[in-house]
Symmetry: C2
DNA sequence: GTCTATATAGGGATAGAC
DNA sequence: GTCTATCCCTATATAGAC
């Protein structure tokens, strides 16, 4: 039984950061944190394992004890986000994708975005790499958030005008990630969150 | 005088597609079109020159006759977008970034986005690579659109609430690119454009 | 649990024949 | 204007010592 295989294969979602105040203790978590930072700033493809290893203080090969591949690191980070999104997504059910529910969903998503900004930026800036992830591994029951969002926007029971509005509301909520880099960095999170929710409701509030 | 160097260095913006109906005649244009397709679907980093050469029907090295590097291909595509954006950007001046002007700017941008969808998706999905482009080459007078947008959003003369709204409006206008892949593909462009403009004006129209 | 050393492949890029 | 052949480098990943 090679312990390397034993651990590396285990990339399930572990409880995310039991104590956020404490610095990451385990090597595995440190790898994830360093990777998150590098991936979200330089991009996944431009970041090499050598670079991660340098920051880690260990050798490159050490990473392979904790992760079976570079992609597995990305996958672990992706699952983190997925975990946060799952709660928010419970609200929106397949048969009822009303604007009201959508607004509720976005409210929660805005909170998640503001508290886990780096994680969202990672996804925003590395869409190609993330999609590649899904293409290769039809990962059992792990159904992607993006797919479920798209399904909601495809629901023919809802008029197109409304669905476009829903899409716009999503774009508005996430707009901080795309264009504005750190433009609104010094605006307190609560305040920014309020403004974003206002915008979302301006788009979805009165269905007309 | 090596003709290779002579041409490869010339990556200026040439008149984009004089006759859109005709298939691209020059090899250079074919390279750009193939690259645009591959870059925007698979991502810039995941696309190799070998792959482009295959589709082209030529050998890998042939590409180097037309472009000095892989990055130069991306740069040429980036300049295409830049050209389209320049017109729209003439409206928004540095000293006056009012919501009204911003709305006007977005109206034009929505049109550009709908007619040059692939080009926008390329930028949306390869932000990391594009930024790398700017980091290396401080390309003379070529000032990036993104930077100018950010400057407008940083203008302290405008209250934060308004600026966040402007950011949201931008996100709403571009929302089709991010989440929805081809969800609204069968909605006619004019109709979709109208809906998007509606959303933008809902966010910026009545300042409160 | 971490390291060294190494294998292997694929990438971008060059030189020069045709 | 296009192609072949080749170089060189860096990246991921493996084997196995400590």
């Amino acid at each position: 039984m090679d312990p390397v295989i034993d651990r590396a294969v285990t990339i399930g979602v572990e409880p995310v950061d039991p104590d956020p105040a404490a610095a990451p203790s385990t090597t595995r978590d440190r790898i994830l944190d360093i990777s998150l930072e590098l991936f979200s700033t330089q991009g996944y493809d431009k970041t090499s394992l050598r670079q991660i290893a340098e920051r880690l203080g260990y050798s490159k090969a050490a990473i392979y004890y904790h992760f079976a591949s570079k992609e597995d690191i990305l996958m672990a980070l992706h699952l983190r986000l997925h975990e946060f999104g799952r709660d928010a997504l419970r609200a929106v059910e397949d048969d009822d994708s009303s604007p009201a529910l959508w607004a509720e969903l976005l409210d929660q998503l805005i909170d998640q975005m503001l508290t886990h900004r780096a994680l969202f930026i990672l996804h925003e800036r590395n869409q190609a790499a993330i999609e590649e992830l899904h293409r290769e591994r039809s990962d059992a029951d792990h159904e992607d958030l993006q797919i479920r969002f798209r399904r909601a926007l495809s629901n023919d029971a809802v008029p197109v005008e409304t669905r476009v509005r829903m899409s716009c509301a999503f774009g508005a909520a996430m707009s901080g990630l795309v264009l504005a880099g750190d433009v609104f960095a010094d605006v307190p999170s609560e305040e920014l969150g309020r403004m974003l929710r206002d915008a979302v409701h301006a788009l979805l509030g009165e269905p007309r």
